[in-house]
Symmetry: C2
Amino acid sequence: MKHLLFLLLLLPCLANAQNTLRSVSSPDKKVSVTIGLNKTGEPFYKVSFNGKTVVDWSRLGFTTKETDLRSGYTLMNAQTSTFDETWKPVWGEVAQIRNHYNELRYTMGHQQLGSALTIQFRVFNDGIGFRYDFLTKDNEGKKLTFTDELTEFQMTGDHTAWWIPGDFDSNEHVYTTCKISEIDCARYNREHAIATQHIVKMKNTQTPITMRMADGTHITIAEAALADFGALHLETDVKKLKFKAFLISTADSTVKSVNTLPFHTPWRVVLLSKDAAGILQSKLIMNLNEPCKIQDVSWIKPQKYVGVWWEMHVGLATWDYEATADMMAATGREVKGKHGANTENVLRYVDFAAQYGFDGVLVEGWNTGWKDWFGKMKDEVFDFAKPYPDFDMDRISRYAKEKGVKIISHHETSAAVPSYERQMDAAYAYMKKNGQNAVKTGYVGKIIPRGEWHDGQWMNNHYLRVAERTAQNQIMVDMHEPVRPSGWHRTWPNWLASEATRGQEFNAWSTGNPPEHECILPFTRSLGGPIDYTPGIFEVRMSAYDPKKTEVVHTTVAKQLALYVTLYSPLQMAADLPENYEKRLDVFQFIRDVPVDWDDTKILEASIGDYMTVARRQKGAQNWFLGSITDENPHKFEARLDFLAPGKTYVATIYADGKGAHWKDNPYPVSIRSIEVKKGDKLLLDLAAGGGCAVSFKVK
Amino acid sequence: MKHLLFLLLLLPCLANAQNTLRSVSSPDKKVSVTIGLNKTGEPFYKVSFNGKTVVDWSRLGFTTKETDLRSGYTLMNAQTSTFDETWKPVWGEVAQIRNHYNELRYTMGHQQLGSALTIQFRVFNDGIGFRYDFLTKDNEGKKLTFTDELTEFQMTGDHTAWWIPGDFDSNEHVYTTCKISEIDCARYNREHAIATQHIVKMKNTQTPITMRMADGTHITIAEAALADFGALHLETDVKKLKFKAFLISTADSTVKSVNTLPFHTPWRVVLLSKDAAGILQSKLIMNLNEPCKIQDVSWIKPQKYVGVWWEMHVGLATWDYEATADMMAATGREVKGKHGANTENVLRYVDFAAQYGFDGVLVEGWNTGWKDWFGKMKDEVFDFAKPYPDFDMDRISRYAKEKGVKIISHHETSAAVPSYERQMDAAYAYMKKNGQNAVKTGYVGKIIPRGEWHDGQWMNNHYLRVAERTAQNQIMVDMHEPVRPSGWHRTWPNWLASEATRGQEFNAWSTGNPPEHECILPFTRSLGGPIDYTPGIFEVRMSAYDPKKTEVVHTTVAKQLALYVTLYSPLQMAADLPENYEKRLDVFQFIRDVPVDWDDTKILEASIGDYMTVARRQKGAQNWFLGSITDENPHKFEARLDFLAPGKTYVATIYADGKGAHWKDNPYPVSIRSIEVKKGDKLLLDLAAGGGCAVSFKVK
């Protein structure tokens, strides 16, 4: 009766709803979802965690052009089931993942829809996922033009939130930490607006958004398996502390998505954990994606790479042969460099990669078109099978093959996407002919088709087409400027990583990323999939390249090492110039040693935006690697080495912030020492302001 | 002084303009253009013909987002030159074409543009063309975002005009005949609106628009060589009797076109003739297009074809295997037919084509996707390399090859254009593998990319890409629902024809095309290039297929024959069902005989919207063919056979309207007789209401 009373008192619209209420709990009973219809037939749900309501009664549903789907539902049936499997990712943070949930399929009839709508809830121990499944009985082929998603997430307090603006075109934002009631993109914009942004509503945030409740419970709202739909943003009701789904629109601003039945939406996700570490450990988003669709995965290799890239960001080289285009030009400054992707320079990188054990050499600026890459809105920009005259593809391919190094191709599209789609077959054939098996794509600028958005339905389908088409060609892909990931790397593990974040590059030519940035990313953007963040900058002051420059990487050098462990990705660049690494080969040793694939991961401590310490076990070995980072404040942590294998002695090589290190005043000192340790020992990590610590534990 | 006085009195804005006035005349001096700048530096032009002003002082120029290009021009220089060449089209109405004009390049400086703008005028004996050429000195790579074209055409009287609405998405309109002052799409819409139209301004007309002045002078405003730009519509000032250029926009309705310098616009064209026949004879639009870009043209063949097509329009067959999609379904009626493109049916057409000497058999509905072709706005609809299970591609290809008949492939895209572009390479490879060398493309429905228009910049570039890509694959192309042609068949003669008009099909399931329709098309739509109109319907009453149907083709059967001569195209369908032809093989003989390529053409008489009589000489032969058609009124014409070769006797076979024939009451009678004639003889043509007459003259 208490439950019903609550309904009757607090949610009058749910009167008589007791007949339609159905619940489902997680396998460990700690997470529970209840769904029901109010008297006008509108569906609502709520979520509790550890006995507390974490999402209070919240609306579900859609509006469409064809049919009024807001209300008028009747409960047809509600089926529950249990699923429990353990699967092995092709690569990842852990060797195997358990996918264990109870499911409730809440099926509603709707006269105007002419068929049924099932809301499918999956309840895991660490959160929930739900999606809308439009059934097709007598309705196959029916078009639905979605104009709004009504899904809400009613929070139960004014939680602390880590968020970036709900931007149609970019995820390259600085995170804000504030109360839900303070969310405001306008305020954010006064400090952090970026040139490529398109923010239509000032209370809208991107997902994933992560929050901390007063009692320490952490909640993330996210989505999984985004396909054939606009990306999920959240419109914040700062008074009611409620989020409402807001979908990126199509080129027609009144239309969010056009779909043909059968169709189900992507999953809407609420991650729940008693602490921040639990959020990091969740595999719920991957579990909501489909299993791997690639039969033979033997060619997919996590990897470390170097490349002709950072020099365009610091102003030493240009992408184009005509020497007009680098990030200086893109940010309105004078261009001084020459074309970077010339044969001699590329061969130099190949030598470097071969000498220090890198798998690949990324080459940006190898193909024609760069002169017009930026801001021209041209239909046709690049030719993906035509190198610049000073890039000798035959010689480079031959040399790289001899050296056992792979050239990573680069397909910047300037967001002229149909042009890329027209050339995909030819481009991939050209790559294969030249012995390449990995490509970095890029989508800088306003999208063509005009009016479409980076995170809208059309582009979301494009990214998946690229994942599938590259897989068919046994090519790995790293996408820059795509939609933020939503776990698709389970299904297409050749899609190694994405940018879709404010990456390292911002430090070279903008106000950069604050020291806390990398302490927030794992709890937000990374939850959907790996970032190609490009860590490893040793020369952190841009004045080294031009005395007039004031840009710096907001880091100590030791922290740059730690990022290889804290920011999980199967694709990690050593982003700095070879000459900078060759000056500090002792420090560089950690980057050479650190793996990119793991059998196990332990979160030793985590506080979002403040600090985190992670230990990971090398794939197929007993070696462990530890990364610890902090924000602008110093941080000390006594790590218990309980994770090490029992009975073994390890040589721990500790790359710590050197004496007096400080991200701003003294970023360079790194103290390196090796000691012997074993399971159960303690290791004091002493991080400088903006600093970090990286440790390799190798079995003696 | 008189000239200057005129300027000072009537166009005060041109005061002091005498310093900037420059003129250029046609080789025969009958057409003259003057261009000048007013005191705020705005360019104006005027055109005279036979001593009369036909386009009075009219504005020139553009607005762009980047630069205020309205005014502020200064004359830098004006260069004149003369050009005279004679070239041979790959196919056409005549064996050779003279391209003879005087050119004035009027080059203006503009401070904000930072470079020069040349307005390039070419003055021919039959009209003028001009375009804007944005010079690139120090300006290469600069982006211009065109927001409006300011070009005007100030008429000098309230001429009679033949026009269709300025529609972003369709040219499939009935023509209106009215005074300029009466142009009104709203009024048009009350009778003739079509489902696919998108008309944004009610005084906008499509080009080409043709007008008759009180003195009989004919004027056509058109464009040539449309590329990388929105199509040209005209916004009518019904009070000032002035037209202003109105460009189809991009997906961003505030943007007409985005271009990168160097760039020149398409040509704006004014055709001038003392009579309607002169308009028909003009080759000015082709002359303004670039010469043929295909080296080896030996594989390009004008042709006649039959096909699995009309049966979907009359309700006997469906496009899709699932038997849900035909024009009955598309117009909201019951579907009764079964899948038309089944192997047995196609083989029947192959037999028919082989027996009666047709080159090709078009097959629509052979490939998967048709169930969702209409109105779904799906990104992916068709697979252009996957036949339906009842279409045995191997067997059909083999059989057609044995019979010496080519299967014409069909690529309906549902206007999901990026999907087609992604598949083009594969689709053309599949065609070639199956022995096909001609394709009919289709763009039914709203365009994907969403927000783009059939006649906008993005699509105009697409059509040219298809022309080029098919040419590279030695494939001929016939486009349905593209932008209306602007002479590109000179450059890409593999682009045999386009629909881009209200074709025969409308007669099967709508109010149809009035009898005058085919008497207007040659003077308007056809001026840009050949139509795939699909004449030759013998069973003109749809009640023959379903007693409930009232649709008819507004024609006599004899007129259907005459259309093969009057509506010039290198691609002509015999559109009716084989069984209808087999019932009237005597009448069908003309369709078998009539060629699709010509060495000479004579316009014997022409009155727009009323009647026209044309004689054409068969390519490489002395045989002539005559076609005469009329509108809803009977028409008599005594044709002088002056065009026949001297000293030869011809057998003239005359297919005339039979006794009592009338398009409405008695469309079927055809009287066939053969007589011997020679040059200088007279032949009385006696056309029924809505009728026609077709004559073959074969050397005895």
